[in-house]
Amino acid sequence: MGSFQSLPDNHQYRTLSQKTGFSLEQIGILHNRFKQLSQNEETLRRDDFKTIQDLESNPIRSQIIEAFFDKRNFQKDDVGSVQEIGFEEFLTVMSYFRAPTHHITDEQREEMRRAKLRFLFNMHDTDNDGTITLEEYRHVVEELLSRSGALGRETAKGIADAAMLEVASISVGPMAPDEFFEGITFEQFLKILKGVEIETTMHIRFLNMDTTVLCK
């Protein structure tokens, strides 16, 4: 039993709250969940996620789990991945899924949007070279269709190709035959997804959770 988990440490919570924007109650609830998942240890490992049954049927399970262990998402300008995370990192990753509050300026909204899209981008860009290449995108589509068997695999390539072509044509425009398009950069990613209102779609309602009941 780590020292900071036995009692809700208000000071700790307050700093976390300032950093991530969650309210104190929400942090408390998430902390309980963290403890549940990590079986009351200080850190969480990849295996601990396997205890969540509902997650098993999710096609992009592995990518989600990776995202938790990806240092780029910890807002510390670090790269690489770790083997285990503490509560602070867990909370930081969760904070990407907060909803925008009502009184938010346009700049803050834009910032939030960029942060969320950056999270998504990091999920796709596994080799961290700043672009999503065709291979990486193909991998994404394949994972999405991984539950559909053979039919999925064949069309996955077609879909990924078509999608890349679309990005290329939107962002770069007509290209001569000997130019080539390396991959989707973050700016282009922002552009193609501007139709999807990320800041409002990518959120979870954190407040109404009673994790003591849900012992999955």
Binding site: K157, A162, L165, V196
Partner: protein, 778 residues
């Protein structure tokens, strides 16, 4: 010129309607041939000497006039024709559609026609409530339900229900109560109106009408959220209206309502709405299940959708459940499954029939509204009418503002003041209110005529004033308009991705939220329901693939329609090909051989001449198979070819190249090609010969020609042809960059003469049936 002719035709039409109208209302004298000459309607009809019993031999009647026995269908057709011609004419006038919404004009036309009929001395027909509810309303609602955008609807369901249920209740009681107060204050004959009648009136007047809302909102192209809010509200408030209406009507005679009645009313509401939905869902599932077996009788597929939905409506009406909700539920449930089962043509048929019927219904409703205004007995009472207009407006605004304040606490995307204004302003009343008043019994409700007048005034006010001004107001307030952009595949991929991501995060949090249940429902759907209701392989197709195929189909259609010529569909990136998107490590492989232009021409010519040798078959026509049109064959083949291409691509990717690679030096086909006149042949992927696919499958699969071509050219033509085909959707060989045409377009160019040939020739029914029977989404 067009307009003048049109007006002349119209005048004749209206002129002929009047004596018909006259013949309708004057008493029937049954003779063998009732002569009713136009212009003589007041006079008694002169029958021929109806000598049934005498044996006098008459001259054999060469030409007789017997209008009576076709009277009813004739009149109905004339009215429908009038309505449609009005609609035509409306759009012919240059600037009118942008100023005045169609509904207003139709009401005015109705007024004019009604006035004309009255002037002539006849009684204009009124909008019979039965006809309205049983024949005119269902097509509109079915159209709305079938094409209901499910995702925004379910996302905003809470808000919509709040507006529909609580909003309507508030409106009804506010207007009813205050009107009662006004009536009491005003005294004299108004004091006779008791509370229940007022509440009944309040109920009728507070229901936002889907017909009117659709008619106006369709023209202003407002953003999806607002559209679905107002529209959803107008659909779902039917249950509330039905319950309140019956409640007040039942107890009007008794005069009082007890608490038990109120409680029963609440229970009734739940029964009415949920019952309606359940009835609709049952019929929807039946329809979906039936469509699973229609692969051999494609022609009657649309019929099932229509009939099952109509039966859902009627069945709900039998039990006084909410017919509208049943219809919506049926349409919404049927659609995803039926669309996976039926053919492309049936889908188009359903779409167009629904649009056509709802359009005609809509037009007829408004015209009749105008005519009935003239026809009905009115009792104008300044106080009552003016107060009802004002009160209904005030109630609406207060209701919307109050409810939004509460709702915004639960919404992520808050409703702004602009949104609230549009929602309030868009609450139009229409023909449903009118018909409900018409249904009132004048013995029980002595003030019925006054109610009628008031309702009509409110309807006119909302449709004319609000309908006409909403468009400039939307522009003035800079309300967000509907985004016309097509959904791109990237957005689709990411929407799916996000769904899964959010479900995953919810599971990690241990939170059974929105996404969790949606995901569970989807999985249940996929596992059990789709298996039952969708025929064959389609049941396992995930949504992303379905979307992708739809997109492919659309692009293929666009290509075919644009003739594959110089005009390119905008969706196709014209000069970007897969070769531009390369893995970073292979710049050295990009040295591609160039094909000289003359060589290209040669190849084209060879292909063309061979393709013209397609066997010409006669097409037989029978009622059970539709004549396949060459278009559909054309793009079905395109799709087939694309699939072949993709298979080839797969093989090509074994070499880890996306482009036509530099030919591997030891490929036998290449060496053969090199020995031929071509100094530089196209690269071939290894294992070309092992592909048993029909490389040049431009004729139908049964033609021996396809075999010919393969054998005839073997390596030479099939190589360049195949490599040109290579890459599928948008791949393009660099040499063709000069023409900057898409690969598909290039092939279409070849196919052009062939296709023209095929327009003249007729592939046999066997081939047709094969194409025909492909479900809508391949």
């Amino acid at each position: 010129m067009e307009m003048k002719m049109f007006i002349v035709v119209l005048g004749l039409l209206v002129g002929s309607l009047m004596p018909i109208g006259g013949a309708a209302s004057s008493p029937d004298t049954n003779t063998n041939h009732g002569m009713s000459e136009p212009g003589h309607h007041g006079l008694p009809k002169h029958g021929g000497e109806g000598n049934h019993t005498s044996n006098v031999k008459k001259i054999f009647p060469v030409l007789s006039f017997d209008y009576d026995h076709v009277r009813v269908p004739f009149e109905i057709s004339l009215w429908v024709l009038l309505a449609s011609l009005m609609k035509l004419g409306f759009h012919l006038i240059p600037r009118l559609p942008s100023i005045v919404p169609e509904s207003c004009l139709l009401i005015v036309v109705g007024l004019l026609v009604g006035g004309l009929i009255k002037v002539v001395g006849e009684v204009p027909p009124t909008l019979d409530s039965n006809v309205f509810f049983l024949y005119l309303l269902p097509p509109i609602i079915l159209d709305a339900g079938y094409f209901l955008p499910i995702r925004p609807f379910t996302e905003n369901l809470g808000t919509i229900l709040m507006f529909a249920v609580v909003g309507t209740l508030w409106n009804a009681f506010f207007v009813g109560g205050l009107l009662y107060g006004v009536c009491q204050l005003a005294g004299d004959d108004l004091a006779l109106v008791d509370l229940l009648s007022c509440l009944l009136f309040g109920t009728i007047i507070s229901a936002v009408d889907p017909v009117a809302v659709l008619a106006v909102f369709e023209e202003i192209h407002i953003n999806e959220l607002l559209h679905i809010l107002v529209f959803g509200e107008s659909l779902l408030n039917d249950a509330v209206t039905v319950v309140l209406y019956h409640l007040f009507e039942e107890y009007q005679s008794v005069g009082t309502i007890t608490v038990t009645d109120v409680f029963l009313g609440v229970v009734c509401f739940l029964v009415v709405s949920l019952g309606g939905i359940v009835v609709g869902a049952i019929y929807g599932i039946l329809a979906a299940f039936t469509s699973r077996f229609t692969s051999h009788t494609r022609v009657i597929e649309p019929l099932f959708v229509f009939v099952y939905s109509y039966m859902a409506y009627l069945s709900a009406e039998v039990f006084h459940l909410s017919g509208i909700m049943a219809l919506i539920a049926c349409g919404a449930v049927t659609r995803p499954y039926v669309e996976a089962n039926i053919s492309h043509k049936s889908h188009t048929t359903i779409k167009y029939f629904l649009k056509m019927w709802s359009s005609v219904s809509d037009t007829l409703i408004f015209i009749f509204l105008g005519v009935s205004t003239v026809a009905g007995k009115h009792h104008w009472n300044w106080t009552f009418v003016i107060m009802s207009v004002i009160l209904s407006l005030v109630a609406r605004v207060l209701g919307v503002v109050g409810l939004t304040f509460v709702i915004n606490k639960f919404r992520i995307v808050k409703l702004t003041t602009k949104d609230q204004f549009i929602v309030a302003y868009g609450g139009l009343r229409g023909a449903i209110a009118f018909s409900l008043v018409y249904l009132l019994n004048s013995d029980q409700f002595p003030m019925r005529n006054m109610f009628l007048t008031a309702i009509i005034t409110v309807i006119f006010f909302t449709v004319f004033v609000q309908g006409m001004t909403i468009r400039p107001l939307v522009d003035l307030l800079a309300v967000k308009k509907k985004q016309e952009t097509k959904r791109s595949i990237n957005e689709e991929i990411h929407t799916q991705f996000l769904d899964h991501l959010l479900t995953g995060i919810e599971d990690i949090c241990g939170h059974y939220g929105h996404h969790h249940w949606k995901d569970k429902l989807n999985r249940f759907n996929k596992k059990y329901i789709k298996k039952c209701l969708i025929a064959g392989e389609r049941s396992k197709e995930p949504q992303l693939i379905a979307f992708y195929h739809k997109m492919e189909m659309k692009q293929a259609i666009e290509l075919v329609e644009s003739g594959g010529g110089s005009k390119l569909p905008s969706a196709m990136p014209s000069t970007i090909s897969m070769q531009n998107i390369q893995p970073k490590k292979t710049p050295q492989d990009r040295a591609l051989p160039q094909l000289s232009k003359s060589r290209e021409e040669e190849i084209r010519k060879i292909l063309r001449t061979n393709l013209q040798r397609t066997r010409q078959r006669l097409r037989s026509y029978n009622r059970h198979t539709l004549v396949a049109d060459p278009f559909e064959d054309g793009w079905n083949d395109l799709i087939k070819r694309k699939r072949m291409i993709e298979l080839e691509k797969k093989i090509s990717l074994m070499n880890n190249h996306l482009t036509v690679p530099a030919p591997p030096p030891d490929s036998p086909t290449i060496t053969r090609a090199r020995l031929a006149s071509d100094p530089q042949a196209w690269g071939i992927k290894a294992g070309t010969e092992s592909i048993p696919t029909i490389k040049v499958d431009l004729a139908s699969p049964q033609t021996p020609e396809s075999g010919n071509m393969r054998d005839g050219f073997g390596s030479k033509a099939s190589q360049p042809k195949e490599s040109k085909e290579d890459g599928g959707l948008v791949m393009k060989a660099p040499s063709l960059a000069k023409e900057s045409k898409d690969k598909m377009a290039y092939e279409d160019d070849d196919k052009e003469p062939q296709r023209l040939m095929r327009c003249l020739s007729d592939p046999g029914p066997a081939a047709d049936e094969e194409d025909e029977d492909e479900p809508f989404l391949p």
